[in-house]
Amino acid sequence: MAGRREDTVKKQLPLAEILDSLRYDPEFRANFTAWHEIPPLEAQYAEFPAEIDERLRTALGGHGIERLYTHQVAAVEAALSGRNVVVVTPTASGKTLCYNLPVLQTILANPDARALYFFPTKALSQDQMEELHDLVTTLGADIKTYTYDGDTPGEVRRKIREAGHVVVTNPDMLHTGILPHHTKWVKLFENLKYVVIDELHQYRGVFGSHVANVIRRLQRICKFYGSNPLFICCSATIANPRELAENLVQRPFTLVERNGAPRGRKVIAVYNPPVVNRELGIRQSSLNAARMIATRLLSSGVQTIVFAPSRVRVELLLRYLRDALPRRVGEPQKVEGYRGGYLPSERRAVERGLREGRILGVVSTNALELGIDIGCLQASVLTGYPGTLASAWQQMGRAGRRTGLSLAVVVASSSPLGQYVALNPDYLLGKSPEEGRIDPENLLVRISHVKCAAFELPFRVDEDFGPETDELLELLSRENVLVRSGNTYHWMAEAFPAEGVSLRSAAIDNFVVIEKGPKPRLLGEVDRPSAPLLIHDEAIYMHSGSQYHVDLLDWKEKKAYVRKVDVDYYTDANLAVDLEVLDSFAREERSGIVAEHGEVAVKWVATIFKKLKLLTNENVGWGKIQIPEETRHTTAYWLSFDDRALEGIPQARVQEGLSGLAHLLRHIAPVFLLCDPRDLQEVAQVRSPFTQRPTIFVYENQPGGVGMARRLFAAHESLIRVALDLVTRCECENGCPGCVGPGIGPSAGNKEAAHKLLERITSHAPA
């Protein structure tokens, strides 16, 4: 049955019995909206590809690998026959061999050959590095593998540039450290045979759009040095792995998705915490529900990972779980935490403890969702739906072994997205995960990279760096960033362009929060859009559970100076948002309801803030906020309604109905996009200056947008259907956080109005 590592746990009941007792427990059973069993899968093996060097086979044998799974063979063969390949790899399916084999094989055959690996984060690259290193050591060949990132000491760097066969890095380092200095990497670029991109699904949205351009730059440099590397990508399960790889790399890819790794029986359960206040539609918090379930599992000795959506919640859950699990004096902790902000050594200790079974439970942020090796646990509890299916599957995949039973429980939160998943567990279990969307052509992103690319190599006038490259070049030279000389455009500035471009966001700047005192301390960072709301003068800024009073926001210097306080109120700022349509790209009208997408200018200004008493939310004061208005150009999807569509909805209700609907659409949108609800914003206008009609907008947070609005427009009908379904099935009376937003006070009627609007839209749509 379930493996050997549980030997340390005394007298554990079979997992199946524990699951039964959980499933039929009167306290829980009514709240499971799904209890789905995935049958076990037998391993499917295939022959070693004939090309593989005997030495490599022997080395693999030394690591206990005598045979390969079918998907590994398919990937290796595709790569060795010169095709770009993307492999879909669930957790624990042996993905690293899919790229390590062709790479090592190629280097064995040609010691000059080079490979570049990149991972989205530093921690991951360290982990994968060790594995590769072990294999190379067993192999006994002179193959040098190095990590090259911000932590690499200066004296080692030269050696890596000269001699590294496999250089492991991350996209940020490639962007600022390697490409702009490519002349120091001649050896690598002249001989580059493979580029490995692991965790492909991470490269989505703005980040992915940036990375796609970094890869464009990489390919330009390779071409300059006469190399033409193949790309091997690994991705978690997403709807469009091949499309994402092709968008990211701009080349055709072979897809390998039939997984040959074995899998034990697995139960996936969805738990919707019970409603505790029917009027307001308030449910038990997902945190409490997750705590109860995890406590049950852990006290039965089931090795469990609990995912929490924020660092603070990790700490809270950790404390609750430790309190709930009695421990003898001197006995080590059974449950540990894991999140950003822990020291690397602490993290390694937890990883090891989990692998070796010494640690029974771990509470983690999505930091452990990525491919870090912690072995496979018996159960995974997700506090809230993590926002995307790809994340959900990775987190659920943390439980599950090659043999034996495992359990994953998704505890739904009360957000519309959470409720959607709770009410439609098939969404989670069915076979349609999100798509990874990127928009490499996003103008703001691309202009940044055209500059970086021009710094790296002059542009030929006819060079292709996305559509209308020539026009961009001409514009940049009019801006005096580039200068044309004959048939080439050259960089013409002292600045180093890559330094001004952060891959992680299209908006360049963050505000820093500084705690005042004899030794001022950097407390944290706040992104620019949030700054007017969170760190205006006199705001109460919350960090790690403590309160800080903002004494001064220096808008110009992007610094907020705070001091620690202990007060009984928090602050809530009002934001006045104005949205202006600049351009409509596409329009679809059906009986008075118009859906469009296009470019908008969003202006926002923080106006006043309220001081609200903790717990009671009683208003105990207010103040004005003096911060200049901000403008951003981005893309939006919007719906407008004519009088027919509004018939029967009282005039006074229209505003609430629109707001409720906007709230709902924005929160439900991630069902169709591989994105976080925070990547989107909504606005409702009773009379939009552009459409001259009641209109709701869902717009992208990132300047310029990354193509999500276009995608929402394309998915318009499904989006409305899903929204209507959710409102219809939601048990609340007047709206709740799980559908159109809380139905209290002046917005008490928004659910009915929003519902009517949705019905109008769907009844007009063609069947």
């Binding site: 702009p180 200095h181 490519h182 002349t183 120091k184 001649v186 103008l443 703001l444 202009i447 940044s448 021009a454 710094f455 790296e456 190599l457 002059p458 559509p467 209308e468 026009e471 961009l472 514009l475 030279s477 009019r478 801006e479 005096n480 960033v481 200068v483 044309r484 000389s485 004959g486 048939n487 080439t488 050259h490 960089w491 013409m492 500035a493 002292e494 600045a495 180093f496 362009p497 001004g500 908006a507 360049i508 700047d509 620019r528 600049l582 351009d583 470019e599 403008t631 951003r632 150009h633 300047p703 310029g704």
Partner: protein, 451 residues
Amino acid sequence: MLQRDRVLKALETLRKAAPAAETSLSPPAPTVPIEAQLNVPLVEILGGEWRETEQGLAFVKDTFFALDHLHGTLPIGAPLGAVGDTFRRAVGHADPPSVTRLGFFDTETTGLSGGSGTYIFLAGLGTFEGQRFRLRQYFLPRLDGERAMLRLLFRDIASLHALVSYNGRAYDLPLLQARRTMARMRDAESETPWEIPHFDLLRAARRLYRGRLESCSLVDVESHVLGVRREDDVPGHAIPALYFDYLRAGRASPLRSVFRHNSLDILSLAGLLASLVRLFDQAGSSALEIEPNDAVALARWYELDGDHRGAELLYRSALPRMGPNSNPQRWARASSRYAHLLKRSGARDEALAVWRSLWEQGDREAGLELAKHLEHATHDPEGALEVARAVLRHWPPGDLAGLRAVEHRIQRLTRRVATTQTHPRAVDTRENCGRIVEEGAAATGGARPQE
């Protein structure tokens, strides 16, 4: 909306979003069509001439200087006298080529950040040619003309046997290497700059003037050594903008000041080399003529080169002239090094005299040395203990490692005094004791005079 308008709007948004990061998007200057750039009469404005190469046209300007042309206080021909041992020492090379085979090299670039988007737009190479000094300047008239420029430069360097620069090892040569890679030049001729010896005068300047001049920048050093006063010189940080302005608007006349700046740099390289060799010459023949601070710095250089005898002589000639008053710290450091050299060459009594006088000035390290000497050489543990205790009283309380070392010594001396009284013949054989103290002393930094 037109793509162009959208791009413009996007650019505007970018500029609004991050004004600081986008300084390069400064108000647009009038742009001159590319054809106009070609029509700028460079020969008239800058002097110089176009040269045909297999990689296209290059622009070079030759300027000749008579050997008696004065640059600061020295004639430009001064380095020609450099031969033999003092020349070897000055450039730190066992077998330097004849001065007539040296190239004095310096570049002007489009920025300091490095990376493949930083161009060398002006390179200067000075050589002795018969009875004159030739300064050849290679100018990049258009950014796509790099190959032609580099071809001429590499060809000229290929006939040389060594390069002389100021910080060229860390800056100009790596940048030149990057440009060569960008130009995909892989022939043997273009390898020369990295194959011939390179004499970086910044290294010499640092050895001689670190801590004495405001900085070891070429401008500060040439002014001190050669008395060169640059009038109306364009400051280094303003240079890239002048070049960009030329590229953009065809304004070439302001570049004259850049050519002049570069030529002054190169003349100074020759002058610095000459004065450096002269310094070594003087050290051998008439050390008393060397300014005492220079002599002390040079003595240190001799030490680093392993010439302890030469260093000792230089210290001996310089220290009395220097005296403790003008710069007590430097004087104390130099005296202490002198004493170490004396001790090393067996002149123990002389060393002791130096340490004693330093100790009287309140120098703690000297006190320790004195204590060591008393203990090991004079076999006077009581005297050593007395000094060590006095040293301890003056030790800065913050320096724990140093304090521990001194206390350790005192304990040992105390024990030893006690033993000597009972067993007069006992001898301390623990040879590493002195070393421990020296390590402690090294950690404490400079000495401080007693108050």
